[in-house]
């Protein structure tokens, strides 16, 4: 039995890729009854039917072993419905009739065509919160535009300042930061609406543009322009007001460490370790941040002369023990070297029907007194069809009929 903060809430999630699914998993972590309405017979983006780089080892269908799908779908039940069919449409209506939150991720306008726009949903359940998470929202000239998280990043100005200072955009890796942050924004939106419902006694609709959910997080990008008419430059890891503030080589090939000293005290600790104690004395130009900013290159070279003698975790340990900000640049396998994460039992081992026991990353937070638990590994397509349909009042005969007429399913055709 895990955390019960959201116990009693019923969440219907009909989204793909990451921001929506991860949000729903986080709600499941906190005790909500989350039902994922899986696309059927079309398989979702994260359920490919042929192997790819993210396919996990094991037997069984490829679409049940995609890591990108597993990453965003724990702690949910799964029902696979073709909502274009009459029966499928009725099943979704029943699901929504007593749900607290409905999260949908179709392109703008699509859900209305399927008969589940806000006006329709409101009639089914006036108390429900419905959240649409189209990339640019449901209104505006871009509402029909399609994108993934990398595209949203490009249009917030974030991509324009990521990357190597001397590089070009072609060297900058697309990222999925909007997915990583979008889940918590959707989560917050859902609970804001539920708290409002306690007063208003009625449901609400939320138009959550994932672009708007991302752009508020970058105030410095906009302000450089609006305050000082400057377009922020790509600075790599540099900070114009902090020296040192960078990433340095370690003794291992292509392994790195971050080092920063934000004030004179941290700087003094660093000088001791890199054998430049005189650089922290009042007579030396680098004892002042003003001098350090002018001497960035020489300081970086001195730090790297030190870090190149050590493995990253060891160097970070030495520096941290002297009050210096430092961390190894962790690769995925390095995560297992962190005594901290082991001490906190962060990693989880889950058992899935087709992959067997696998180690995965842990939760985003820990809670007392009722800690989180990974109660439901990523569900199979339609794994809970029968269980959920019986809860909705259907009998076995009817359920069998749904399978026969294609309203529901529990596997995809390859």
């Amino acid at each position: 039995m895990g955390n019960a903060s959201l116990e009693g809430l019923k969440i219907i999630e009909m989204t793909e890729a990451w921001a929506g699914p991860v949000c729903a998993s986080l709600m499941g972590d906190m005790g909500a009854d989350v039902i994922k309405v899986e696309s059927f017979p079309r398989h979702s983006l994260t359920r490919p039917t042929s192997p790819r780089y993210a396919t996990m080892p094991g037997d069984g269908p490829v679409y049940e072993r995609d890591a990108l799908h597993h990453q965003g779908n724990r702690n949910k039940r799964n029902i696979a419905i073709d909502i274009r069919t009459e029966s499928g449409n009725q099943i979704l209506k029943k699901l929504l009739s007593d749900a607290d939150v409905f999260i949908e991720g179709y392109a703008a306008g699509k859900i209305e065509k399927l008969g589940f726009g806000w006006k329709d949903v409101q009639k089914i359940n006036p108390n429900i919160t419905m959240i649409s998470i189209a990339g640019w929202g449901l209104e505006g000239p871009y509402k029909k535009m399609v994108t993934l998280g990398a595209g949203l990043d490009a249009t917030t100005g974030h991509l324009s300042l990521r990357g190597y200072p001397e590089g070009d955009f072609v060297d900058t890796h697309p990222n999925f930061h909007s997915d990583a942050t979008g889940s918590s924004t959707i989560f917050f939106a859902a609970l804001t609406a539920l708290l409002q419902r306690q007063k208003s006694k009625t449901g609400t609709f939320i138009d959550l543009s994932q672009w708007e959910g991302l752009v508020w997080q970058f105030p410095t990008i906009l302000a450089e322009w609006t305050m000082n008419q400057r377009i922020p430059e790509r600075l790599g890891n540099d900070d114009p007001h902090i020296v040192p503030h960078g990433v340095y080589r370690t003794i291992d090939d292509d392994k790195w460490i971050v080092v920063a000293a934000e004030d004179d005290q941290q700087w003094e600790g660093l000088c001791k370790i890199i054998d430049r104690i005189e650089w922290s004395e009042i007579s030396h130009k680098y004892s002042s941040i003003v001098g350090r900013i002018k001497g960035r290159e020489e300081i970086d070279n001195a730090i790297e002369s030190f870090t190149k003698q050590y493995e990253g975790f060891n160097a970070a340990e030495i520096l941290q023990n002297n009050n210096v900000i430092a961390s190894p640049v962790v690769t995925p396998p390095d995560v297992l070297l962190s005594s901290q994460l082991h001490d906190r039992s962060w990693h989880q081992t889950i058992t899935h029907k087709w992959t067997g026991p696998v180690m995965v990353g842990g939760f985003l937070w820990d809670v007392e007194p009722d800690s989180l638990s990974w109660d439901i590994p990523t569900a199979l397509v339609g794994q809970h069809n029968e269980e959920i349909l019986i809860e909705l009042g259907y009998d076995e005969k009817k359920i069998s009929e749904f399978y026969t007429n294609g309203s529901i399913g529990n596997h995809y055709e390859n």
Partner: protein
């Protein structure tokens, strides 16, 4: 109409970027957010840019954006007198969010304990969590990103790993804390139990998507550290057009075929050089030449409109000067301009989600408070006499 979170009281302690980001959504949606700032000036107030590059405690861009709609009180939480103030404020709060060193956080948690019970919900934000051998380590946005595995992937093999934009990591951590804080509030309202939530920055970043750990853990895959343009599955990444760059996510069908049709080269969607997974990487340069030739006659907005019309996932790469006037931003009023005392008009991002209608007053951005603006007001509200307030000031607990 009242705002959705009217009636909620949230206390924010620490003055960091993370905790300021965490409190922002609560405040803008109507909660009474009291920002307890240290006498030594909050981190969030020190961050550039400043108007005309003249630093000022009340004019930093991050403070102006993240501290909207809050009240500011200065309290030294390390003193017993300061802890007494925090205890009085916190006992009436629905949630306390704090981003201070673990040992200081533990001291404050203890004043809200009644035996095994907690008197209010508390979310702690620390780099590594409240327990474990690294709990007292000092980190910043750059090192937290280094820990998250995301920095490593955001680089080219052999070259130094890179962070994202400034403060991207710590803002994500703050946003995570806000979400779980809401869950704690909901839980205590429905079942009467307060919770203690431990948000470790490293875990919040590493446990979410965009981290490479999950993928490696479950199938041993290490994502390539290649340049932005994928040479195996393309077009993915930024490509040059007439006046800038376009970002494509069009490497897979059916989007790839739509692109081929849209640029007048439907043959490319069946040409084995560009569709066979073994052959495709060998012909990246040839494809790039074709695509960039098409793009070279179009501006990024022309290409965006033309390609999106055909269902191709692509977006213009915008810089800071282009954000406010982007058509979508203008239509939705995604940025707002409002008056800030001592500065005049400033522009910040609008609501992160639209509730009760596109332009409802569910979200309201009131000016960010000046340093200690509400210290007297809040102390009086919580029962301190004027002489007691002076005594606290005289003792250096407030300022």
């Amino acid at each position: 109409m009242t705002q959705p979170l009217d009636g909620l009281k949230v206390i924010e302690i620490g003055g960091t970027v993370s905790v300021s980001a965490a409190g922002k959504k609560f405040a803008d949606f109507g909660a009474d957010v009291i920002k307890i700032e240290p006498p030594q000036i909050s981190e969030v107030r020190k961050i550039a840019p400043f108007p005309d590059d003249i630093f000022h405690i009340d004019k930093g861009a991050v403070h102006l954006a993240f501290d909207t709609s809050k009240r500011s009180i200065v309290v030294d939480h390390l003193t017993n007198s300061g802890k007494e103030i925090i205890q009085r404020l916190g006992s009436k709060a629905n949630l306390i969010i704090m981003d201070i060193p673990a040992k200081e956080a533990l001291d404050l948690i203890n004043i809200f304990k009644d035996g095994d019970s907690l008197l209010t919900n508390i979310v702690t934000i620390t780099p590594h969590g409240m327990t474990g051998p690294y709990k007292d380590r000092i980190e910043n946005d750059l090192t937290l990103f280094g820990w998250s595995t995301r920095s490593h992937r955001h680089s080219i093999t052999g070259r130094e790993p890179l962070r994202y934009g400034p403060y991207a990591g710590v803002v994500q951590i703050g946003s995570t804390a806000a979400a779980v804080g809401m869950a704690a509030i909901w839980g205590s309202r429905s079942e009467g139990m307060s919770r203690l939530v431990d948000v470790a920055g490293v875990e919040a970043l590493m446990g979410n998507v965009d981290s490479g750990f999950f993928l490696w853990a479950v199938n041993g895959a290490l994502q390539p550290r290649s340049a932005g343009q994928s040479t195996g599955l393309y077009p993915m990444g930024a490509y040059k057009c007439k006046d800038g760059y376009m970002l494509f996510s069009a490497g897979r069908d059916p989007v790839y075929s739509r692109l081929c049709n849209a640029i007048g080269r439907p043959d490319l969607s069946t040409d084995k050089r560009f569709t066979d997974p073994v052959e495709k990487p060998k012909h990246f340069e040839a494809f790039k030449e074709i695509l960039e030739e098409w793009l070279s006659t179009r501006t990024k907005y022309e290409a965006f409109d033309e390609l999106q019309e055909k269902g191709v996932m692509c977006c213009p790469v915008l810089d800071a000067s282009e954000l406010e006037n982007d058509r979508q931003s203008v239509h939705r009023k995604s940025y707002i301009t409002r008056n800030q005392d001592g500065i005049g008009d400033i522009t910040i991002a609008g609501p992160p989600f639209r509730m009760n209608g596109l332009h409802s007053d569910a979200w309201q951005s009131k000016p960010a408070p000046s340093f200690s603006q509400h210290t007297n007001e809040i102390l009086e509200e919580y029962g301190y006499s004027k002489q007691e307030t002076i005594a606290l000031f005289r003792a250096g607990v407030t300022t």
